[in-house]
């Protein structure tokens, strides 16, 4: 559909997006391991609605065993970028890659956003043939196309990398990299649009994650421990930054939303020496990029009797920082500790001096902290999403099927909400809790865009 004025959910700058209306609904990727297909669930987020805090619809995927994980929009504020403007597209389709089966589902959220439909499936062999990638992970709507990445190569090994799909046909356009330099491992990617720089991170090859985490491989330093900087324009590798092999699994990348700023945050899941998690700031140091550790969260001693099989020998609970999210004003960084069961808020107004401003305990391997609307919780805040205005934070509790089973046997899916004090601090919303039962809830996308869905080309 051609619009005469830009899609109202496109904002030139993060500053303007913050003024957008509150979300009324969210889409949640739900994984099923019980022989049922995965689903895209629609959750009512409007406190005025009678069905608030419940699943109002669930769209089953056409296949079984996909492992829905992350997903994104066909179009976003990047459509306003000045060098290739096309603002009259619609934010309408969810681009939903599958992590285990390497498909892409295209889900139409109009005309009724509460009743989405699958309108296209791009099969794994098409993607593998055209791009050479599999195990599809991150989605970002770019100025010229929709960008995705695959953690594995077509054969299920390395290298993983970025691919683009056409804005309109959703057909894969090929591998993105013209010169990948030393990069082989992949996990997340994002960019500094104002600087023409892309950043990619590293988890590991598919054989190392598909069957669950391996303590031996963590100790041996076999998981990824680097991030890579790329020339977004020329599609070339510029520089790798190594965190040291003790820093295992460098995952979520959260660049500043202001395109004139050149820094961002990345989380390290586990340190192989002391099982701590950390968050690092990357920044420009002259011509080069550098990183510095700004947050370290130590592992906590625990009674081995309370620990799952894999951790019994260690006698500690690793915090397992598996996701981060940066508010649109670049002020607050939310850090989920999936092991210890915490949602943390840091004031990162000064990106080199993160100040802890709030902690809410929920779930956790040992604590199983209850929500007022539930009993003791299995799982902990994992994927985080922040509303555009920064007032509400949502979290779901599943990481990845085989890793869930390792750390949280008998996990069931849930979603919680935190309310933010704009001056700093956050609290659990006691009225909001969504129980997904056997379904495992993963990424949340909020109506009209959220703090990890859009790229802004203007400050």
């Amino acid at each position: 559909m051609a619009l005469m004025t830009p899609d109202p959910t496109f904002y030139p700058s993060a500053r303007l997006a913050i003024q957008g209306p509150p979300e009324r609904l969210g889409y949640v990727a739900v994984l099923n391991t019980n022989g049922q297909p995965d689903a895209m669930s629609v959750v009512d987020l409007d406190p005025e609605s009678p069905t608030y805090s419940s699943i109002v619809n669930s769209l089953e995927m056409p296949n079984v065993g996909d492992e829905l994980h992350h997903f994104g929009w066909n179009a976003c504020s990047a459509s306003l970028c000045p060098y290739a403007p096309h603002p009259h597209l619609e934010r309408r389709y969810l681009i939903v890659p599958t992590l285990r089966t390497s498909r892409i589902y295209v889900i139409d959220t109009k005309p009724d956003p509460f009743s989405p439909k699958v309108v296209k499936t791009v099969e794994a062999d098409v993607i593998a043939n055209r791009t050479g990638y599999s195990r599809l992970h991150t989605v970002h709507c770019g100025p010229d196309a929709i960008y995705l990445n695959g953690i594995g190569s077509a054969e299920g090994g390395a290298p993983g990398g970025i691919l683009r799909i056409d804005h309109n046909t959703f057909e894969p356009l090929g591998a993105w990299e013209l010169d990948r330099g030393p990069q082989t491992l992949a996990y997340d990617f994002w960019w500094h649009m104002g600087l023409d720089v892309a950043i990619t991170s590293e988890w590991c090859t598919p054989d190392l994650f598909e069957n669950g985490p391996s303590l031996a491989d963590i100790v041996a330093g076999n998981y990824g421990h680097k991030i890579h900087f790329w020339d977004l324009r020329r599609r070339r590798h510029l520089q790798e930054v190594d965190f040291g092999s003790e820093n295992q699994m460098v995952l979520e990348l959260r660049p500043s939303h202001n395109p004139t700023k050149a820094y961002g945050f990345v989380g390290v899941v586990v340190n192989s020496q002391d099982l701590s998690s950390s968050v690092w700031t990357w920044y420009q140091d002259g011509e080069k990029w550098a990183v510095t550790k700004v947050i370290e969260i130590p592992a906590e001693p625990a009674d081995p009797a309370l620990l799952p099989e894999a951790l019994k020998g260690l006698g500690t609970v690793p915090p397992l920082v598996t996701d981060l999210d940066l508010s649109l004003d670049d002020k607050f960084l939310y850090v989920s500790c999936w092991g210890s069961g915490q949602m943390r808020q840091y004031d990162v107004s000064d990106p080199f001096n993160a100040k802890l401003t709030g902690v809410v305990e929920l779930g956790g391997i040992v604590n199983k902290t209850a929500h007022p609307k539930s009993g003791p919780l299995i799982g902990a805040p994992q994927m985080v999403e922040i509303s555009r205005d920064g007032r509400r934070v949502y979290a779901t509790n599943s990481l990845y099927s085989s890793w869930d089973d390792t750390f949280y046997p008998n996990i069931t899916g849930w979603m919680a909400k935190f309310n933010v004090n704009p001056e700093g601090g956050l609290s659990l919303d006691e009225d909001f809790f969504v129980d997904f039962g056997e379904g495992r809830a993963h990424q949340v996308r909020l109506e009209g865009g959220d703090a990890s869905s859009d790229t802004f080309c203007y400050p």
Partner: protein, 232 residues
């Protein structure tokens, strides 16, 4: 066949103001289209936190734009050497109309440039590609080819001594393209500065009309006009 034989009334460069006003109006229209450059200029001003960046960006963008127009003008002039004006108009008219319909139906196809961190040379290249891929130069075809009727069109070697015609044509077209580009540059700079200094980015959310559709309509109109001038 009436249009096939240009009526060479006077060798003067441009006898009437009509075509110049038309070219200036199209210059303003090109200047209004955010895709032609004012938006890029605004964003570079914001990115570099320097209003002067807008002026230099508009300058480079205009160079790229005029380069694209020159390519079209030279192509039309060359065509005029070998083919009667009637057929040049028919071909240009059919192509323009077809291109306009293509852009109308596939309006969402868009430019694939990626890159904010641009030098002056990059901006010239960007603007050249942007203007060329949007058919900005061709949109001027009905007026440029009509300068012929005013006495200084594409040289027709069969009927006239070439050199004088070439000089006349070059002068007339040069004046025309200059008027067009100055009009575009002025409008582009004015919009960029008003958005940068007064309106702010929020203007983009409300005020950014779908110029792509208008543009397609303009291409079709230009095509039909060219055809009409050939046939009538």
């Amino acid at each position: 066949m009436l249009g096939a034989l240009p009526v060479h009334a006077e060798p003067a460069a441009i006898a009437t103001l009509g075509p110049l006003i038309g070219l200036a109006a199209l210059g303003a229209f090109h200047g209004i289209n955010p895709a032609m450059g004012w938006l890029f200029a605004v964003s570079l001003g914001l990115q570099r936190q320097n209003g002067w960046a807008i002026g230099s960006a508009v300058f480079y963008i205009s160079l790229g734009h005029v380069a694209s127009l020159l390519v079209v003008a030279v192509a039309l002039a060359l065509a005029g050497f070998f083919v009667p004006l009637f057929w040049v108009r028919i071909a240009a008219g059919v192509f323009l109309t077809g291109f306009g319909i293509y852009k109308l139906v596939l309006y969402y196809r868009h430019f694939r440039w990626v890159g904010m961190n641009v030098s002056g040379r990059d901006l010239i290249a960007w603007s050249f590609l942007m203007a060329t891929s949007h058919g900005a130069g061709l949109m001027l075809a009905p007026i440029i080819l009509n300068l012929d009727e005013e006495g200084a069109g594409a040289p027709d070697l069969e009927h006239h001594s070439g050199l004088l015609d070439i000089a006349d044509t070059a002068t007339a077209w040069g004046v025309g393209l200059t008027v067009h580009t100055v009009a575009m540059l002025t409008v582009m700079l004015a919009i960029a500065l008003v958005v940068y200094r007064k309106l702010g980015l929020a203007f983009l959310r409300r005020g950014w009309l779908n110029v792509d559709l208008l543009w397609s309509a303009a291409l079709i109109l230009a095509g039909l006009t060219t055809l009409a001038l050939a046939i009538l």
